[in-house]
Amino acid sequence: MKLDDLKTSSPILLQGLSRRFGERVVLDALDLHIPQGQFLAIVGRSGGGKSTLLRLLAGLDQADGGMLQQPAGQSVRVMFQEARLLPWKSVLDNVALGLPANRRGEAEQALAEVGLADRAQEWPARLSGGQRQRVALARALVHQPSLLLLDEPLGALDALTRLEMQGLIERLWQQHGCTTVLVTHDVSEAVTLADRVVLLEAGRVALDLPVDLPRSRDPADSRFVALEQHILQRVLQGPSFTTPLINEIPLASLHFSQLHWAL
């Protein structure tokens, strides 16, 4: 534990990080510094480079230029917008994915943490969307990652389930203390959860604000509202030349080829 703390106490550093897809510059010489243990939210319009940045941090994609310095021995886990559970594995086996057999107990524990201990033997197809995301969260946290990446994990959920999930994510983040990067369209969600909100616009940091409000936060609180409005105004001012197509490029570039270098 001590050694792990030592290893991961250094921050994540991004300097002049660039990523292009053909002609289109998605990340344009981005500078960012993420201290250990911080809950960082990245907001912005579609095509602003949010998901691309997350994929670079996750090691799912490679930068074209600049430097991305991650702490040695850092373990990263991603929670995607879709739960991406393996439908042929039980809920418990999904949480235990990639875990050595002697650590199955931890999978059960993680499942209990998200309140789904009683569904351990169920097939994923039998769960609701919110439950599937809770399983995905348990699956991410069971590895005790030092960096947790959340790629709009609540985007597809209904409003009430979203609020419940936000509470759960905040509570588990406080317990685990891992550095967390949340990509979201929802400014209110960012202000609710994050220590710091970064607005990405045309591949650059357009705004970088700390959120100095005590947890757990009340969206009706006047300082909360003021901060939310401030960020929202800035998002709306920004250029809107982006096309939705840009957002799909990273996904499209996956394809089957991925299987080949995976095996």
Binding site: L60, R84, L86, P87, W88, K89, L97, P124, A125
Partner: protein
């Protein structure tokens, strides 16, 4: 609603589909007894039953059945095994695809029965001729469906598994194979149907044992009762094999929504 009423209703529901075949057989028997049907053309059901009993008590029936079944089984195991192996190879590795796919796609267009004269020249009317033909017919549907099943795997699941540290053998067994399994099983069921068709023709043309030989031999001596019996035996065997394949599907795909609805 008493329990016995709903039980009776359940029984009625179950028996209802058998009503039409039963009436047909009764009508057929009446037509034969009344002399409307020449028994050289179509024997009465009772005559078929008598032929069945005679062949059963002489032990001939079991002998021919066993021979046919062994031919289908060995041809199927060889053909499906090769189809599966090539399908997995071409699906998982680019080299495998480049090496085998074009060749197999070309061979696939040869109707298995078109090579029958050649096979008879090669193997005579030996066992290996029948086994070869069955294997040849079975190989391609299994190959195509295996290859297709792997190629249409959800790239998002593969990406997730990779980012969770699942790779190599574990990726194959936990993600690739189960993901391709529904498609592979479709190929296997289709191949089983083809296997019987090929065997019938091969046995009718060149054999000294087996159900097809039984039918061809009976035709020589105008024993229409045995010809009809052989046809019914093929139907029964095909059904038995299909039921077995379905049971396998039900067990292996029990995670699939279309299977646990019935449970």
């Amino acid at each position: 609603m008493s329990r016995s009423v709903s039980f009776a209703r359940g029984l009625w529901q179950r028996l209802l589909p058998w009503l039409v075949p039963l009436l047909l057989v009764i009508g057929w028997q009446i037509a034969s007894l009344a002399g409307w049907l020449n028994h050289r053309v179509l024997p009465a059901p009772s005559e078929v039953l008598v032929a069945f009993w005679q062949l059963l008590s002489s032990g001939d029936l079991f002998r021919h059945l066993a021979v046919s079944f062994a031919r289908v089984a060995s041809g199927f195991v060889i053909g499906a095994g090769l189809g599966l192996a090539f399908g997995l190879l071409a699906g998982v590795s680019r080299l495998g695809e480049a090496l085998f796919d074009t060749t197999l796609q070309m061979l696939r267009n040869i109707p298995p029965l078109a090579i029958l004269p050649l096979v008879i020249l090669w193997f005579g009317i030996d066992e290996s001729a029948k086994v070869f033909l069955v294997a040849f017919g079975v190989l391609f549907p299994v190959y195509l469906n295996t290859y297709h099943g792997i190629r249409s795997l959800d790239p998002q699941l593969l990406e997730m598994a990779r980012s969770y540290g699942v790779s190599g053998k574990a990726l194959f067994w936990q993600v690739v194979l189960p993901g391709a399994l529904p498609s592979i099983l479709v190929g296997i069921r289709y191949a089983l149907g083809i296997a019987w068709i090929i065997l019938i023709v091969a046995e009718t043309l060149s054999a000294t044992s087996g159900i097809g030989y039984l039918a061809a031999n009976a035709r020589e001596f105008l024993q229409t009762d045995i010809v009809v019996l052989s046809i019914l035996l093929y139907a029964a065997l095909g059904k038995v094999v299909d039921v077995a394949a379905r049971a396998l599907e039900k067990r292996w795909l029990r995670w699939h929504p279309s299977y646990f609805k019935a449970a």
